[in-house]
């Protein structure tokens, strides 16, 4: 081994503390990158395979009732490769031992001879006997939530008739990867399930013999989806077509898409942030490290090593420090990515998850490390490269000390000499101090960002499900009913207040922009469902005209005062023009709102309602839920508390896990930065500190100087750190903004506090780590060497 290489290894060993700290920063960056990347590709690939192997349909068209022979005509539409008629019905379910209202969606099994779109994956048991009316395949999520197995039974109220069903098998479908009750914000697998049964008995139960009420279509390779949808809408209009749509509006696909999109944002955003931070930190650390080796650089050059050879030597040193972070980063990232994907599969139901550490992720991680190394070390290495030997031999020009501005501004007696020394040291090198503060601030910012989602979710729940939606139970009817039905609900014992609502599927059009949404008619004097303004104050409902969610208005490029075309997708399918009056602010979903009476007038109805919100007396929940279960015409009763609980069980768990990981990563970065600052400060100032000891300062006093400097830097970094953190959160909010939800930019004091505490704890740990070296300063040796 060459002498220069030997120097490299020995330097590396001597700098092992700093190497570990630098590697830690890299590990955090690479692990985050690999975690998000592999989780993303696992979900993406798994979905693609499921869709292909189980023939997920391209176009979906719900309708009221169409005769079977119509299918032949629909199959002749240009671009349609396969068309399959189905029977679909919302039902109420009863599971032994579970008292809450449970809703279900019954779907007829794909006909085997048609090739079958949306084929089932059977997890357990078998398909139902096509001739038996009481056998079903149960969706896995629901089956697991109630611990139902093949052979078990449950009851369903289909078309008003109670029927006992036997579980033949447990299955999954590409159509229901994400299962959520229509209108709900979060999945609740205990209160909503999907089941499949043979078509003929189901059609018979629904009085749909020889007919279908739902259509799924696979498109040919060159088909234009929009054309097929337009053709379908035209043919299905006489049969009560509710508007065909592509996968983009299919609930499960949309949520999955949204989640994948968010993961993609996370990959990009977190990788970019970690890349920038890691590079910045390396830049500081390497720059100062190289400075401490100034003389050695000069000697090597004096003896005839070229600047390239010296540059290569230090590049090697840095390269090895960076490389040390690569394998643990990959391993940690792979392990976390696997875990994250598993968590996702708890609420995305796939037959199996295709997780792999694919070469693309490895290459990207490598590129990440290289980019960090290149960006972070270029300037330090350049200085090594450019340093002329004579300059390196000369002591650096003595730093210019000035009476700092802070001393003029504050009475001198506020500072003891030690504090003055600390402050002067920091003030004499404003650039270095700024960089150190910025470095620690960045670590603090990442911590703030990682703690942010927790607070944001709480804020989301509090505002949406505490402030805007204040009902205890939301009851929806199987079909629109008169105001009498609402009065009946009010008479149920335990019900304190009832407010009716009317809901209608519409398509909103403004210029070339359009969007499908449920138009909700609310009572003007309502209190259980409130619209909120931009600063979350309740908005008065205008007597005519629409209120739109601000995000929806943005999608349609609408502002208050504009007029929007509203096309009803049910009933007489009338189209009306309505003015937009105000915009409401909400975090979950998007909506269009109208005063209840105005909506009823528009549709030419007297007092038709789709359901009602109930406020219950304390302790009356059980009784009311039981009473509702027996009532005909009640389709679903959504329990707000259960909804929140369901959300906390699923999505929140993913977020919290991710948050925990990100916090650990950010903490690693904080430790890496602070420790390195401390170590380098020590090596830069050992002579000065030893001089103080010679002059009679005690160990404790010298220690206090060093510790004082570290804590001053950390303290100075907190505020900029919070500001940086706020900026990063804003970036995250912007990246995650979607039609399904917008994360509020809500930073909790607790989140900021945690971030600050982690930074201070890292500072304390670093101070302890350098203390040993500080105590061991060899006074004579330090003073004998050249300044």
């Amino acid at each position: 081994m060459k002498a220069l290489d030997r120097k490299l290894w020995r330097d590396l060993r001597q700098l092992r503390g700093q190497t570990v700290a630098i590697a830690l920063v890299l590990v955090a960056g690479i692990a985050t990158l690999v975690m998000s990347l592999t989780a993303y590709s696992a979900l993406h690939d798994t979905r693609a395979r499921l869709y292909a192997e189980h023939r997920f349909a391209d176009v979906f068209a719900p309708l009221v009732r169409a005769p079977w022979p119509l299918l032949d005509e629909l199959r002749r539409i240009e671009g349609v490769q396969a068309a399959e008629g189905r029977v679909v019905a919302s039902v109420n379910l009863e599971v032994a031992g579970f008292d809450d209202a449970v809703n279900g969606l019954v779907v007829s099994l794909p006909d085997a001879h048609q090739g079958g779109l949306n084929q089932l994956f059977l997890r357990a048991g078998r398909l139902p006997d096509p001739l038996r009316a009481d056998e079903v395949v149960l969706g896995e999520a629901f089956a697991q939530a109630h611990d139902l197995r093949p052979g078990d039974t449950l009851a369903a109220i289909i078309n008003g008739r109670r029927q006992v069903l036997r579980v033949a098998g447990i299955g999954l479908s590409p159509e229901f990867v994400y299962q959520i009750r229509p209108g709900d914000a979060f999945p609740d697998h205990r209160r909503y399930g999907v089941l499949w049964m043979p078509r003929e008995p189901l059609a018979a139960a629904l009085d749909l013999d020889g007919a279908f009420n739902d259509l799924v279509i696979a498109l040919g390779r060159d088909a234009r989806e929009a054309d097929v949808i337009a053709a379908l809408d035209a043919r299905l209009a006489p049969y009560g077509g509710l508007g065909a749509h592509g996968r983009d509006l299919q609930t499960s696909h949309r949520f999955l898409d949204e989640e994948l999109g968010q993961l993609r944002v996370m990959v990009r955003l977190f990788s970019a942030v970690f890349l920038a931070v890691a590079a910045f930190l390396l830049n500081i650390v390497i720059g100062r490290l190289v400075n401490t080796q100034r003389e050695q650089v000069a000697v090597l050059k004096a003896f005839g090593y070229s600047r390239w050879e010296v540059g290569r030597h230090y590049a090697g040193l840095v390269g090895l420090m960076v490389a040390a972070g690569l394998p643990p980063g990959l391993l940690a990232g792979a392990w976390l990515g696997r875990g994250l994907a598993d968590l996702y599969s708890d609420f995305f139901r796939f037959p199996s998850l295709d997780w792999s550490l694919d070469p693309a992720a490895l290459v990207l991680a490598l590129a990440f490390a290289l980019a960090v190394a290149a960006l972070g070390t270029a300037s330090g290495l350049y200085r090594t490269f450019a340093l002329t030997p004579a300059e390196g031999m000369r002591p650096e020009a003595p730093p210019t000390y000035r009476r700092g501005g802070f001393e003029g501004a504050l009475p001198a007696r506020l500072f003891d000499p030690a504090a003055r020394m600390v402050l002067r040291t920091l003030a004499r090198r404003p650039l270095r101090t700024t960089l150190s503060v910025l470095g620690i601030g960045l670590a603090c910012g990442i911590l703030v960002m990682s703690r942010f989602q927790d607070a944001a979710i709480n804020e989301m729940i509090e505002v949406q499900l505490g402030f805007a939606q204040r009902d205890d139970l939301a009851v929806s009817f199987t079909e629109p009913r008169t105001a009498r039905a609402v009065l009946e609900l009010a008479t149920l014992p335990g019900v304190a207040a009832v407010e009716p609502f009317r809901q209608a599927p519409v398509r909103l059009r403004h210029g070339h922009r359009e969007h499908r949404v449920a138009l909700l008619g609310l009572p003007a004097s309502g209190d259980l469902r409130r619209l909120l303004g931009p600063s979350l104050q309740p908005l008065p409902l205008p007597s005519d005209g629409l209120v739109l969610t601000d995000y929806l208005a943005g999608m349609l490029a609408l502002a208050p005062g504009d007029t929007v075309q509203v096309e009803f997708l049910d009933g007489r399918r009338e189209t009306v023009a309505l003015p937009v009056r105000t915009l409401s602010h909400e975090y979950l979903g998007v909506g269009a709102y109208l005063e209840l009476g105005a909506l009823q007038r528009l549709r030419g109805e007297q007092s038709s309602v789709s359901g009602a919100w109930l406020r219950l007396e304390p302790g009356a929940r059980e009784a009311v839920v039981r009473a509702l279960r027996g009532r005909p015409g009640v389709a679903a009763a959504t329990d707000r508390a259960a909804m929140i609980e369901g959300f906390r069980d699923t999505m929140a768990q993913v977020v919290v896990t991710f948050t925990l990981v990100a916090t650990a990563m950010a903490a690693a970065i904080a430790v890496g930065v602070v420790y390195n600052s401390a170590r380098i400060s020590l090596s830069e100032r050992s002579r000065e500190l030893a001089s103080l000891r010679v002059l009679g300062y005690t160990r404790a006093e010298v220690r206090a100087l060093m510790t004082g400097e570290l804590f001053t830097l950390a303290g100075l970094a907190l505020l900029p750190g919070f500001v940086l953190g706020y900026g990063l959160c804003a970036l995250l909010v912007w990246g995650f903004e979607s039609e399904l939800y917008r994360i509020p930019l809500a930073l909790s004091p607790a989140g900021l506090g945690t971030a600050g505490l982690v930074v201070l704890a890292a500072t304390a740990a670093s101070a302890l780590a350098v203390r040993r070296r500080l105590d061991g300063l060899d006074l004579i040796a330090v003073l004998k060497t050249k300044d």
Binding site: Q296, V299, K301, G304, M393, T400
Partner: protein, 240 residues
């Protein structure tokens, strides 16, 4: 041993001027130096601190460039030479010894010498170079395990190992006590004797001047005087 003046000098300097900027002040270090140094000479540059002697040495060694004036080595101009040419010049022809030894702390004595022999074209072995300075027994010690005098002798071995045309020594005894300093000077006298390299020592210690062929006095950035010793003293005869 006076050099015959008809030969080509190793170094020829004319009108060397150097001004530094140190922080906020301009420091003139050299104010017009004319100088010839001949092969095989043992020269002592004598001067108080701040006289410009280190600056002169750095310029002769290709570590620094003058602000004005010219210097050439064996007929090749150093002024205006590029970084690569100066690096090659140092690598092949110059051996440096510094006041504070400047050994690489993470390398042993042998490895410190090897650092230089590995890149020179016709070096002696590190072992031979260390034996020449009397350190054949301590080759595998790290700098921190060696005394100051021993460290400086490693530095001399490191400088001589490449068989340079010139040895440039900047206060080689400056950090050492008298007794140790003399062992270092003995090592330098021996390497000079055995290799015949032009050896230049800069020092503020007038006693050392007695072992030189020629003594050049520097003061305030100028040559203040020059004298030849009729006979060179042995280092063992010196004391301070």
């Amino acid at each position: 041993m006076a050099a015959p003046e008809t030969r080509e000098p190793v170094f020829r300097a004319r009108g060397l001027t150097k001004t530094y900027r140190m922080g906020e002040v301009e420091v003139p270090a050299l104010r017009g130096i004319d100088l010839d140094l001949w092969p095989g000479e043992f020269v002592v540059l004598l001067g108080a601190s701040g006289s410009g002697k280190s600056t002169l040495l750095n310029i002769l060694g290709g570590l620094d460039a003058p602000s004005a004036g010219e210097v050439s080595c064996q007929g090749h101009p150093l002024t205006g030479a590029g970084e690569a040419a100066l690096t090659r010049f140092r690598r092949e022809h110059v051996g440096f010894v510094f006041q504070f030894y400047n050994l690489i702390p993470s390398l042993t004595a042998r490895e410190n010498v090897a650092l230089v022999t590995e890149i020179a074209s016709a070096p002696m072995t590190p072992e031979a170079a260390l034996a020449m300075v009397g350190l054949g027994e301590r080759m595998d010690h790290f700098p921190s395990q060696l005394s100051g005098g021993e460290q400086q002798r490693v530095a001399i071995a490191r400088a001589i190992a490449k068989r340079p045309a010139v040895m440039l020594c900047d206060e080689p005894t400056g950090a050492l006590d008298s007794r140790t300093g003399i062992t270092v000077l003995e090592a330098l006298a021996r390497t000079h004797r055995e290799t015949g390299a032009l050896t230049v020592i800069i020092t503020h210690n007038a006693v050392i001047a007695r072992m030189a062929d020629r003594v050049i006095q520097l003061s305030d950035g100028r040559i203040a005087g020059e004298q030849r010793n009729a006979s060179r003293a042995e280092p063992s005869e010196l004391s301070w």
